[in-house]
């Protein structure tokens, strides 16, 4: 009997060892994909993930159990989800970014988009897959699809393996409007890889079919923060110029200051918000902010308050300005820009102010510095006054409201300024009441740019 038992044990050992070797192949392929991706070999990585998919087709949000003692649960890759489909798509996305021929790039991105759409249809996708798909739609100029994507519910509980996804591109799973307060998925398992290579983007300047996404609506995954993005938000609601002051400017600034972080990839620490300040305080804050900026950073300025053109030059007024020609408490717009030009910053400025004509001089009308790279957008056409609306019981400028809605709509850290402006105008005119048409006697301006392309991104 003992001899029989020994033979039985030996036979069992042989059978088990053979069966195990075959079943482990997908793990080997998957880990090869991870290794190749970390080496920036995106083509090889994609192929490896695709081999894994052939052996294990469906992504799985749950940890994959590993063989081991029955009394202890052990998981593959410390409990990582199995995301071969997502990572194959991501590898394709990164591979496309390196392609020189646009046809090939477009074809690959199209294939990857279909793969991600399939994941969504199978309900095996989380916020990262949705975020990636949104980026690809943007890259392909398929804004209708992007709009439709934003209407889809995202399974925020679906965990994804983000080990090879660049930190800047990891979707932040969060409730709408508060993405910045949520940590990235699996932060400890996502060592910095390499800075992402943004795929070439060539979207149309004007979106074809506007799609509104207002607060409270379903939104896609959070936007990765970029340390190179800064914002200066100013709201002056008081002053000595009753006809020019915007009483809602602080509310506008409060609304706006959250949006770059939540929807456009601006780290909260990089957003400086000033309310009811003097021109000197603006200068000081700008200098402090500029000192922190790396060369070539992106700066968004949102100014709500009194602005004036004095002797042909544009000024932003502090709350102590006694008249619209009193420059004692004003800062020259160009001086403000120069603080940041010195850091090679690209400036995207949004001015919310009344724009009366005085002696044919209008703020933003003629004074356009020739230095630096910047784009300026005004809340109302020349000669107009800032219209307001109500949101949550508070009076707000329509411009600030539309600015906020537009950032929420795009939800990306790479917003083309021209496209953004058109969308903002859409929101301005429709009040987010629908998806087409809309009209108003009032309208903000399109951007005025200096050495910036219409699709320059901020």
């Amino acid at each position: 009997m003992q001899r029989t038992s020994i033979l039985a044990l030996a036979s069992l050992a042989t059978l088990c060892a053979g069966a195990a070797a075959h079943a482990q192949a997908w793990k080997s392929d998957y880990e090869t994909g991870i290794t190749e991706a970390k080496r920036e070999r995106w083509g090889s990585a994609r192929e490896a993930f695709q081999r894994a998919i052939q052996k294990k087709p469906l992504d799985d949000t749950k940890p994959t159990g590993m063989p081991g003692p029955i009394t202890e649960r052990r998981f593959w890759r410390n409990g990582s989800p199995y995301s071969a489909n997502l990572l194959a798509a991501y590898s394709g996305y990164r591979l496309a970014a390196k392609m020189e021929k646009e046809e090939e790039r477009t074809a690959l991105l199209g294939t990857v988009a279909k793969e991600l759409e399939t994941l969504l249809d199978k309900k095996t996708a989380g916020s990262n897959a949705v975020f990636l798909l949104g980026e690809i739609y943007t890259a392909l100029g398929q804004l209708e699809k992007r709009g439709e994507l934003q209407q889809r519910a995202v399974n925020r509980d679906w965990r994804e393996d983000t080990e090879i996804i660049a930190p800047e591109q990891v979707s932040i799973t969060a409730g709408a409007g508060n993405a910045a307060t949520n940590p990235p998925v699996n932060p400890s398992t996502n060592p910095p890889v390499n800075p992402p290579v943004n795929p070439p983007v060539n979207p149309p300047i004007k979106p074809t079919t506007p799609t509104a996404t207002g607060p409270g609506q379903t939104t896609i995954g959070g936007v990765a923060l970029m340390e190179t993005k800064f914002a200066l938000v100013i709201g002056n609601a008081t002053g000595q110029l009753p006809d020019m002051v915007l009483p809602h400017a602080v509310e506008d600034a409060t609304l706006v200051k959250e949006q770059p972080t939540n929807y456009a990839g601006y780290p909260a620490a990089n957003v400086t918000t000033l309310t009811n300040v003097s021109a000197a305080e603006i200068r000081t804050a700008a200098t402090t902010l500029a000192d922190r900026m790396p060369a070539g950073a992106t700066l968004t300025i949102f100014f709500a308050g009194v602005a004036s053109n004095v002797n042909g030059r544009d000024y932003l007024a502090g709350i102590g300005a006694l008249s619209i020609v009193d420059t004692n408490d004003m800062i020259l717009k160009e001086d403000l820009y120069q603080i940041f030009f010195a850091k090679e910053a690209r400036i995207f400025a949004f001015y919310e102010c009344h724009r009366p004509s005085r002696d044919s001089r209008i703020f933003g009308g003629t004074d356009h510095p020739v230095d630096g790279q910047y784009a300026e957008m005004y809340s109302i056409y020349a000669g107009g006054r800032v219209p307001t609306t109500f949101r949550n019981g508070k009076r707000l400028a329509v411009f600030a409201d539309a600015f906020s809605q537009t950032l929420q709509f795009y939800r990306t850290n790479q917003i083309p300024i021209g496209e953004f402006a058109w969308k903002l105008i859409d929101f301005f005119k429709t009040g987010a009441s629908g998806t087409s048409g809309g009209s108003s006697k009032l309208a903000p301006t399109l951007p005025i740019a200096n050495r910036l392309a219409a699709d320059a991104k901020f």
Partner: protein, 400 residues
Amino acid sequence: MERLLKNRMFSLNAGLSSLGMLALAGFGHAQVADMLSAFDAGSRSSGAGGALTGASPDTLATYYNPAALAYIDRKTLNIVQKNLPNGRNSVVGKYYDQTKTTTNRSGNQAVTHVGFAVPMSSLRKGGIGTLAFSYTIGGYLEESSTGPTNSALELIPGLGVRNFTEKKSAKSEFYTLAYGRTNGAGNFAYGVGLTVVNQLMQLRQTGLLVDGSGNEINPGASPISFPNVRTNGTGLGLLAGVMFSPVNNPDLSVWASLRTPIELNGVSKDAVSYDRIPGRLIAGGAIRRDGFRKGAQDYLVLATQVTYYFSGGASQFFDRSSQSVTSVGAEYYLVLGLARVPLRVGYQGITKGGRGFASRKGLTYGIGFQPGNGKYVLDLNYFQPSGGGGDTSITATYRF
């Protein structure tokens, strides 16, 4: 064998010279629980009926199934303290045909296992598998018998034994060096071990030889000598085991191990000593299930295991026939944050393994605690046999 005291059985006068042999052959009604081979040194799964002894990745794997060593991935120290079984008999009737009333009790506390495991990777780069050494008490029996003080156990007509006492004990100490490793996929483990056994056996009887009137015969120099024997022997055995989980279903595990019979060297052919520790076959299986608490990582392990002991050596006092242990148990791992609290319940049934012993069966319970860093684990287990004499064991595991 070390012979400590000469077996001077009943060296009475010529007329009674054969009484010694007759007396030793006459004990057939003892009821002490048989733990001579089936003593559980106090594994962590004792509270689950011992149903997972062959699958637990701790140093007790050196004793039960060295394949489980393969899953020890850190240096690990295990120490078990447990009470030893103890049986007490009240004896009446005749000396040759005693009627015993047995009370099984919880005996003295003792360290029943000490083990240390070292992953080979910590000894040399690229090392595979785990090596472990342990000391384990794998068999234990302690039985005390007391006869009446106001009457005598009849030896032969007109001759009896008053104030009879007997103490019988045996202990099997296993010193094992074992090694276990897995295949590349990790779903199949195998292990081997080399074990050296030190077997202790002891028998001591005392009493007063009295005549039919109850008067002591030859007070002072007794005409007979009661047996007082203490022997030990050593032997060498081999151990091998396997453990398997399907690659695509790690929630299922089966295992088996085999220990060779161990021939004891130096054991004399007397009425006490037995010369072979039985071979042992363990086979078991378990499944794991989760999802019992929403959002929690709790899981349940259901296990069953059968341990079969082949026939061993036999002597008049320590008879070793085949014996089996049936274990069924459940472990529910309550996961609280990073900590785990295993809750155990089970049943264990041990058949008797020879003449003069009784079976043992009962329910088991246990609880453990493992904090988040997993460095140490404490387990407290309790076995409540139907015949009394519950076992309590405390198992401490430290992972370096």
